[in-house]
Structure formats: structure tokens, C-alpha cells
Symmetry: C2
Subunit: 332 residues, 2 copies
Amino acid sequence: MVHPGRPIGELLVKTTATESPLEKLFVGTEKGDRLSASRLMTVLENEGEENDRALRSLYTREGRSFVIGVTGWPGVGKSTLISRIAKVFLDQGKQVGIIAVDPSSPFSGGGLLGDRLRFRSIDGSDRLFIRSAASRGHQGGLSRATRAFVKVMEVMGRDVVIVETIGIGQEQVDISLVADTTVVVLAPGLGDYLQAIKSGIIEIGDIFVVNKADRPDAEKAVQDTKAAILMREKAPWQPPVVKTVAADGSGVDELIREIERHREYTTNCADAPATKARAAIHEILEAIKNGLLKKYLEEDPSRGAAIEGHAQMVFQRHTDPALVAETIFLKE
Amino acid sequence: MVHPGRPIGELLVKTTATESPLEKLFVGTEKGDRLSASRLMTVLENEGEENDRALRSLYTREGRSFVIGVTGWPGVGKSTLISRIAKVFLDQGKQVGIIAVDPSSPFSGGGLLGDRLRFRSIDGSDRLFIRSAASRGHQGGLSRATRAFVKVMEVMGRDVVIVETIGIGQEQVDISLVADTTVVVLAPGLGDYLQAIKSGIIEIGDIFVVNKADRPDAEKAVQDTKAAILMREKAPWQPPVVKTVAADGSGVDELIREIERHREYTTNCADAPATKARAAIHEILEAIKNGLLKKYLEEDPSRGAAIEGHAQMVFQRHTDPALVAETIFLKE
């Protein structure tokens, strides 16, 4: 898809022999080319100098999608629900991107979105673009790469981007930062609302879904979720609770209506709501911390080995990581 | 419980009027006094100077428990299983501590451990000590306080300490660091082993439990888990997969046998296994990062406000937190 307001001639002129390989990927991506976008994402996923350059260049580009975060514990039926949501937007003729947290995600295969021929544009291009992002286990959370993938999809001209995360721990914060609308998917029998509060997941949902709502304890799950929502910080937007059965599509229409209603609501809000502002601040602080640590370790290469030595003491529970940091490393 | 090798007279002498309130808590805790331990934990949970002093003092104390981490997604039946495990050790006459991640955890109430009279020592003291630790949502992970709670239970002279965590994201790493034996609890129908790998939970289990094993799809869950274990980094310890029905106690005996077998195995290992060493290094690095950031923000108070300003740009997806950190804050 060529961006509106950008003449096709300009794109052709830019694609010259003097252009860097990275710039070529950007030009292709801006035209909506899937192969260019895929390669660009691979660059952004790997570490190194080219990655840094790509990231800097990426954020100078135009593009704005409606980003829907879909988060929930394993087993609640996120994948099927995402397929349903994607299908509604595809049937409206929209360009849809899906970012799944794992290569083994069922999206790539058949199922609801298997009949890809239906989702062709007039020019023959596929209106559905699915990309997996490896979840960075040890660092935790939605990786910097995943956030960059969203931006690539925006630069590609996708109308709607759906991001799937497991949504416990740090990820829950990240997804609410990157998404315009965060849908938290719950299911009956997966612990009560107290556990939802415990994990913090209740704080970040703009819309709550009780999926597998054909189960007998669905109504209790809805009531528990509503009770948990009442305990949140008061805010102008009151998150609705929608019952769905993703397997047969029940309730998906209502979910889409609530998503659109939230989209309208946020369109009229200039400032980030308090939770998203906090999440953004947190992310910047994390990035600064990582940069400070990098400098710290590079300043004196012996520090790395010393940390490894103290790790054995922590393992033996003779000391605590915070104590090691304070008394050994930050005293200098 | 008075520590072996420490004469009771020494403890009495130490409890003098010139002793600080904090030292009194430590002396009480070392005698196994629950009220002292509870108060000490409260000090360790709150932030501030007293906390820092308490933490420093804590790690100079003696005490070693067998620490069992029990981790798993919400709804798999961790609480019931922990009650079963605790009961086995209590029935052996042992002193047991349980650290639950949330005040709303069902442990405090009745159920399997309700009949507390059964768990009295000869001196009338309760051999079961349960303490909740608030999960620090935004920071993610098992808090520094939870780790300190384990150490307090060790100082108290608990034979066995069981720590419950939700175990997705950062927490999963932390629990494997603090626990001698990490039990990962899965249940049929909560997503397949691919999702287990995705979340990283498969990497940290010393023992895997498929709970709710009376469900029809239990055997598949066992096979999937075994397949996932085969994909792990090769190591001398091969994690077993145990089927349990915590609700009626089936399989708990076998689980206890495997826990004891793993305990014997680790007793013969002097060094931390690679995964635990990595987790310890990660924790120290995190603590150093936090200290570096604190210094950085204190050096120039205007930095805090500047970060808040850039947070709005991140929210608008005009930039990325990593880019903000590199190009604005770390350039100075």
C-alpha cells in the first residue's frame, strides 16, 4: 500500500543504486511490501549496530495503525479470539497485522484465517500479515523488538495491528503502553478475580473478555471481574466485560463494538491516561538503567567477573543481590 | 526453636535494655518467635533506612532451610498442592513455613491446614508459619522482600520453606534462584507444552507436576511436558513429571519422593547449576542498575521531569524508550 499523499514517483526515485540496503528495506516497507518489512523486522530483532541504526530510522517514519493488545493467561483462548477479531476487520476490507509472541503460535497455520485468498487486495497483495516475535524469557516482558514490529506495521500502512502477549508480569505493563486498546482475556475456571488482581492484570484492561462463556461458571467469572474492576483507580473510562465463545464466534460482534467504542473514546483524549504515562516512564527508566549498566561494566572489565563471584554467594543464600550491589559495587 | 549450638543463656544475655528494637526482633526470630519474625518481615517489606539496616543484619545470621518453590499459572491448583506438601512435612514433625504471594491467598483460611492444633510442638508453638508477600506488580517479579522472608524463615529455624509464585515472566527466574527445588505445576487444558516453552517456565523446573490428573487430557499433558523437557539444555538432573490430584491427594506421595530425591541430588552439588548462576547474576545486575539509576536521578533533579515529558512522546509512538534513553539521557 502506497501511503496517501506520497506520489509513487518519489518512491521510485528514492530506490536508486546509491541507496543503502537498510534504506531500501524502509522504502519497500513504506510501500507495504511484505518481504521488505519481514527483513526489516529481522534486522530489528537482532542486536548490534545495524539494529540501532534501523531503530533510529524507524521512528522518523510516518504511519499510524489502530493497535489492539490482546493479553491473557495461557489456555484462555487468545489465539482463536484474535483470529475472530482479525477476520472482522479483514471482512471490512482493512489491512491487518498480527504480532504473535511465539513462532509456535497457531496463527501461522490454518484455522479461521486459513483461507488467505479471501484477504487479497485488488492489487493481489495479502491484506493479512502475521509475524512472530520471540518472547525474551530472561529479560522478561515484551521486547524492544516487539514494539519496533508494531511501528514497522504502522509504517507498512496496516489499518489494524493486533499484538498477542501472555500478559503476566512485566508484559502486562508493556502491552498497555504499546496498544491503543488493551483487551484482557479471562476464562472461567482459571482462578477467581482475586488472582487477577494479584497478577496486576486487572489494572491494564480497557476491555475485559470472559471467553469460553458457554461454561457453567461463566457468570461468576463475569461478576468477579466486575467486582475487581470496581476496585481499580477511578477513571473516566469504565471497562466493559464482554462474554465470548471464540470457538463459535458468539459475542465477538459485541467485543468489536466495545473495541470501536474505546477507540472513539481514546481518539478524543490528547494525553496518555495515568496508567499508560506510568508505563512509558517505567520503560524509559528501564532503558536508561540498561545504558548506565552497560557504561558501568565497560568502564572496568573486572566488574563482570566480580559479579559472577558474588552470584555463587547469592545462590548459597549468604547474601542478597541488593546487598551485594549496595555494599560492593555501588560503594566505589 | 533455639538454634542448636547456641546456649539459651547467650540469648537471654543479649536481650538487655540497651538492645535496639531491631536487634530484639532478630533475637526473637532466632528463638523461633512468630511475632518477632512477623514484625521483622514487616520492616523488611517497607522501604527506608530501617529496612536497609535490617537487610544487612539479616544476612549475617545463621539458618538454613530446605526451600521448595512451587510455581505455575493461575488455576492449576498450586494452593491445594502446597497444603498437601506442607502437611506431609508437618506430619513428619517438621517446622514448616509457607510464603504466599498474596494476602488473598487461600492458605490463611481453613481447608487442609485448618486443624492447626495438630501442628503444635511440645512447647505449644505452632509448627506451621504462613506469611503473605505482596506481589510488586509494576516492578515485576518476586520482590526483594520475598527473598528476605525466606531468609527470615531460615533464621527462625524452619526445616522446610515453601514459596508460591505465579511463575510467568521474571518471577519464574527469581523462584528458581531462591528455591533449592523448584516444582512447576501444570494442568491439562491450560495450553500445551508449546505455551510452556513460550513462557520459559520449562527451563526452571526441577520437578514437573501435572495436577488435576483425573482429567481426560492428563496423559497428553504429561507427554507434552516430557517432550518439552527433552528440548532443554542437557544437564545431569533429568526432571521427572509427576501426576497429582491435589484435591484428593493422589500422587502427592510420589511428588514428595521426587522432591526428596532432588534434595539429595543438590546436596551433593557444591556449585550452582548454570540456570541458577545465571539467575543470580541477573539479580545482582538488576540491583546495580537500580542503584545506578537512583544516583543518576539524584545527581540532577531536572532529569525526572524531562523523562515525564518524553513519556508522552513514547505514548504517541513518536519514539521508543530505548531511543529516548540513548539519544537524550545517556548522551550527556
